[in-house]
């Protein structure tokens, strides 16, 4: 069918007009907000899992305490570290969001 066909012209014009009307900055904003929230949530879950895994590792194998002490650079007591590390882990996603200027 030729592009000069009146029906083709009518349909193409009508679709283009409709698409122009549907262009919505608000929709784009909502989509991108959801994408950003999703990225943030995924990082948070990842950091929380890592933090819990570290806590489990330390409580199961106390020999790893020297490593955590060294990592933190602070002499936490044996009782404090299993609590402190997961708490620290929970702040990792916040730090990631702050540091990542693209998100």
């Amino acid at each position: 069918m030729s592009p000069q066909d009146p029906l083709e012209q009518l349909l193409t014009g009508a679709f283009n007009r409709e698409l122009g009307q549907l262009e919505s900055a608000a929709t784009v904003y909502r989509v991108m907000s959801r994408v950003r929230r999703y990225i943030w949530l995924r990082r948070f879950v990842f950091a929380a899992v890592v933090a819990l895994a570290m806590a489990a590792l330390i409580t199961t194998f106390p020999d790893f305490l020297w490593l955590s002490n060294w990592l933190l650079g602070i002499e936490f007591g044996r009782q404090a570290i299993p609590v402190a590390l997961p708490l620290l882990g929970l702040f990792i996603p916040w730090l990631l969001v702050l540091l990542d200027d693209q998100v």
């Binding site: 009518l10 549907l22 909502r30 959801r34 994408v35």
Partner: protein, 184 residues
């Protein structure tokens, strides 16, 4: 010069460039929204499904192969989101069922609503109102998304021949209903 879809996908994927993905959303949002509106009819649900399509696109960006067109890949994703919505809503997609393996339509779908013929150029809703739901979907995929018959066939899982004949029939309906190029 505007970056191609494939370049933007590559940037979003390899560099984690969310701005590139935002550009893709901006570019394709009207088409996806138009398709969802034709499929579900409820503007609020269509908006939700449009958002869901792009969230899924972000998650599945790695599955996109640069050999195909991003537009076709995204349209298939949008259609799958719609089908999932139907399953969740436990509704039977009546208009989808009406396309049989041989491409025959139910008689109900062929009943055309009375549309007044206006003197001025009819807008899209008026033009599409004379078509069945599946014909409307095909026209949206063909004209708004710019998909070829083969790409539409891949999206909807309908044979290419059926698509060709349905688009032809849809155009005929519009031509006769609005007396375009038809001598009285």
């Amino acid at each position: 010069m505007e970056a191609s879809d494939e370049t933007l996908v590559s940037q979003a994927l390899n560099l984690g460039d969310i701005a590139a993905f935002e550009q893709l959303v901006r570019r394709h949002q009207p088409r996806v929204l138009l398709l969802q509106r034709r499929l579900v009819r409820d503007p609020a649900i269509a908006e939700d499904l449009c958002q869901e399509t792009f969230i899924r696109a972000w998650n599945k960006l790695r599955t996109f192969r640069a050999t195909g067109r991003f537009q076709a890949w995204l349209t298939k994703l949008a259609y799958n989101v719609f089908l999932q919505h139907l399953r969740h809503a436990s509704r039977i997609p009546k208009h989808m069922e009406s396309i049989g393996a041989d491409g025959q339509l139910d008689r109900d779908c062929l009943v055309m609503p009375a549309v007044p013929i206006a003197d001025e150029l009819p807008d899209l809703p008026k033009l599409l109102a004379v078509l069945t739901k599946e014909e409307q979907t095909l026209m949206v995929l063909n004209y708004a998304h710019g998909l070829s018959n083969r790409e539409i066939s891949e999206v909807l899982g309908i044979p290419v021949g059926t698509i060709k004949s349905q688009i032809h029939r849809a155009k005929d309906k519009i031509r006769h209903r609005f007396r375009i190029g038809v001598t009285p």
